[in-house]
Amino acid sequence: MADLSINLAGIKSPNPFWLASAPPTNSGYQVQRAFEAGWGGAVWKTLGEPIINTSSRFAAISFNGQRVAGFNNIELITDRPLEVNLKEIYETKKRFPNHAIIASLMVEPQQEKWHEIVKKVEDVGVDGLELNFGCPHGMAERGMGAASGQVPALVEKQTYWVKEMAQTPVIVKLTPNITDITATAEAAVQGGADAISMINTINSLAGVDIHSWNTIPHVAGKGAHGGYCGPAVKPIALHMVGECARNPRINIPISGIGGVSNWENAIEFMLMGATGVQVCTAAMHHGFRIVEDMIEGLNNYLDEKGIASVNDLVGKAVHKYSDWGDLDLNYKVVARINNDVCINCNKCHIACEDTSHQCIDMLKDGEGNPILRVREEDCVGCNLCSIVCPVDGAIDMVELPNEFPPMTWNERQAAIGALACAVDTVK
């Protein structure tokens, strides 16, 4: 049994699976059920001035019959009185002293407001704070959430105010609704954050009903943009985690959020630099019980690889994530089709023929059976055929021996530059 416990900027939990601040962590009843099921930590649904929520709040994207490929919500922060939440946090922490409870906070960008709420939540024994600078809808219209989180100076200043008062570790939760997330991540570091978490939800409109012409979801015939999450956003989140992890100026732990649905996703985030992960949509789809497989799957993976602690995964793939200019232009892969496995759907052919490099030929073998063959000299190794292929093992992407030594774009430009200089000198 591998050691699954983590310590994220001083916040300890028995495993890296936390519930994200969201509907699943709305009450003590829910968080306690989650801890009973095995979740290592929970970020309490954002506390602040209670708000009023709308009726009809969620929508999801089904993709070819698969439900909840993506999820969209227009729910705001907690709509329960602060005192009630504080009482339940206290009771939950008392019952589960070894589990992490992090209070998510959002108040107006004023120093005293932050000071006041930090003191209140720390008094009931939370293990850490998460500043919600990410909520993209509703709260942002009131100058909070993403409205704060999109302005690096505001991120820095509010983090600083919180740090003035906070005794527990402070995590700054970042919005993805910004061109370069490292700008706000750096601002959080400047403000003194102990950790950052990402991503909050992405601005979205789930759909339009083509019969009623209402938005999806709608509230009395009107809609507003919401926040998008779930499996569909995982690549976006992973990119942002990776960008922060490989940025030397962002040298604080990362809590990874965005489409984590199972143990494999969690490993990906941790390899890309996250110390732990937060989950919401998968729990909303299936219930808290999914964590059993997450824990067991992660443990079996670590045991199988002979890795003693989950912490040994953190950041192990970061050095493999780089700039385009650092990729080897002389590296070559080509597609090879295994006709004994191929079922002749010809999807690879038409994908290549119409939309890529026209290098998969439809031929007949000696007995007149249809076969597909790649003209390797014309194949650019784009992967498209193997992506559209429905059968495992029918198309292999094969590495070819390098004809030339490795050469990146940056190296190439440097070499040309040097050559130009040399030419200049000769002149």
Partner: protein, 452 residues
């Protein structure tokens, strides 16, 4: 395999497992089709209560070891059951998707996960901390193995006494290879053995070790001896060459090299339970030219599972309903014919099934080269008597809650308690009874401890 694909040149190849098992892609697609219901009806429908949605979710997430563990923790013979359970009557019959699209292939997914564990030589469990108490289990079939596994997890020193060369019982010897290869049963035995359970094979209680020694030397005893050979038909000619006991007949196909004794021959199987189906489909695979099942009642009363019946029909087995043998005809000590009578159904008997009544003057003769008797199984009466416990015609009397016999330290489960309206005949029920017996033994021996 359909009749067409039976090889008459390489008979032993006919005994390879019929169903190929799901490919990785099939398993993944099917696993992702599962709704992952909460408080799912499939769990309720499984006699061992396997957490089916969870094991399927684990296939979908790629946690195959965890999936196999979920299955095997609830059912110590879960790999065998994935192949032999009447799933359409159990888990798959209860699947909520019956009302929406089509049910999840739970049996095949269960096989996929356990096959993975088998292929990757996984040991899934570790023995519990020793309690210093010992339990003797007589019989290493599904019920005995299941009890042994649970007791070992609880920390008991468990010894299984097995009369045959290998443990596994029905799963090893009684179910045809093309449905349940021996290797599957052996793997389940290994899982139990790996928990320090001692399995004394080739040890027949009452002969190789006395009943007294067992009762005296262990803190508790579990009788899981199953049932014995096929009883006599009670008609002339049973001693002729070419007359077989179905249990022995199937066992030979699993323990000895396949021979061409039945190649091109005419075979009659008497009886219409699952063993009769096994004997008939084995005969087809041994190259018999014609295989008939003779049954004195009708399709309605037949005890074979529907899928077994379908399987036999696909194999080209002929069913002769309302047909009872009256005499086996021999020539030079060898069976050559079978004299039969047509029957009609009368009033229901004690078991609720309508009794067959001979139709006068309906005698006719079938030409046969072999006759296989499959009219049920007899009981190990002498052994049961030797334990000095109550029974009703070989069906051991138990407390239905605790599986305790009339001797407080002796428990019984599996086929030895099946019959006379008591118990269930399925492998999966035997597995569950084994678990329950283990918990009762635990309750008896360590009453202060919490039961599972």
């Amino acid at each position: 395999m359909s009749l067409k694909s039976i090889s008459y040149e390489d008979l032993s190849s006919n005994f390879d497992e019929v169903e190929a098992g799901l490919s990785n892609r099939e398993a993944l697609e099917e696993a992702n089709r599962c709704l992952y219901c909460y408080d799912a009806p499939c769990i309720q429908a499984c006699p061992t209560g396997i957490d089916i949605p969870t094991f399927i979710k684990k296939i979908a997430s790629g946690n195959l070891k965890g999936s196999a563990k979920t299955i095997m923790s609830a059912n110590p013979v879960g790999a065998s059951c994935s192949r032999v359970c009447p799933t359409e009557e159990l888990c798959e019959g209860a699947c909520v998707l019956n009302h929406a699209t089509k049910p999840i292939m739970i049996g095949n997914l269960q096989r996929y996960a356990t096959d993975w564990a088998m292929k990757n030589e996984q040991l899934l469990f570790t023995a519990g901390e020793k309690l210093g108490k010992s339990v003797a289990i007589v019989g290493g079939g599904p019920a005995g193995l299941s009890a042994a596994r649970e007791l070992a997890l609880l920390g008991y020193d468990v010894t299984i006494f097995e009369a045959e060369e290998k443990a596994g019982g029905l799963n090893t010897y009684g179910i045809v290879s093309f449905r349940l290869p021996k290797a599957v049963s052996y793997w389940e035995v290994e899982q139990v053995k790996s928990l320090d359970v001692e399995i004394r094979t080739n040890t027949r209680v009452g002969q190789d070790i006395s009943v007294k020694e067992i009762v005296d030397c262990y803190d508790a005893v579990l009788l899981a001896i199953g049932m014995a050979h096929v009883p006599s038909l009670g008609i002339p000619g049973e001693e002729l060459a070419g007359v077989y006991d179905a249990i022995e007949f199937v066992k030979e196909t699993k323990t000895k090299p396949i021979t061409d004794t039945l190649l091109g021959k005419k075979v009659a199987v008497i009886g219409a339970g699952n063993t009769a189906i096994d004997a008939a489909t084995c005969s087809v695979r041994l190259g018999a030219e014609n295989v008939k099942i003779l049954y004195r009642r009708t399709l309605e009363e037949m005890t074979a599972y529907d899928f077994e019946y379908e399987f036999a029909k696909q194999d080209g087995v002929e069913f002769r309903w309302l047909t009872a043998p009256t005499k086996l005809i021999g020539e030079k000590d060898k069976v050559v014919g079978i004299e039969c009578m047509k029957m009609e159904l009368g009033e229901p008997g004690e078991d609720g099934r309508r009794r067959p009544i001979p139709v006068e003057g309906s005698e006719f003769t079938l030409e046969v080269d072999a006759v296989i008797k499959a009219i049920g199984q007899s009981r190990y009466l002498d052994l049961i008597e030797a334990f000095e416990i109550s029974h009703d015609g070989g069906v051991v009397t138990i407390d239905s809650e605790t599986f305790q016999t009339t001797n407080a330290k002796i428990f019984a489960c599996g086929d030895v308690i099946f019959g006379k309206g008591q118990g269930e005949a399925m492998v999966v029920s035997a597995a569950q009874q084994g678990k329950q017996s283990a918990y009762s033994i635990h309750q008896l021996l360590v009453p202060t401890m919490e039961t599972v």
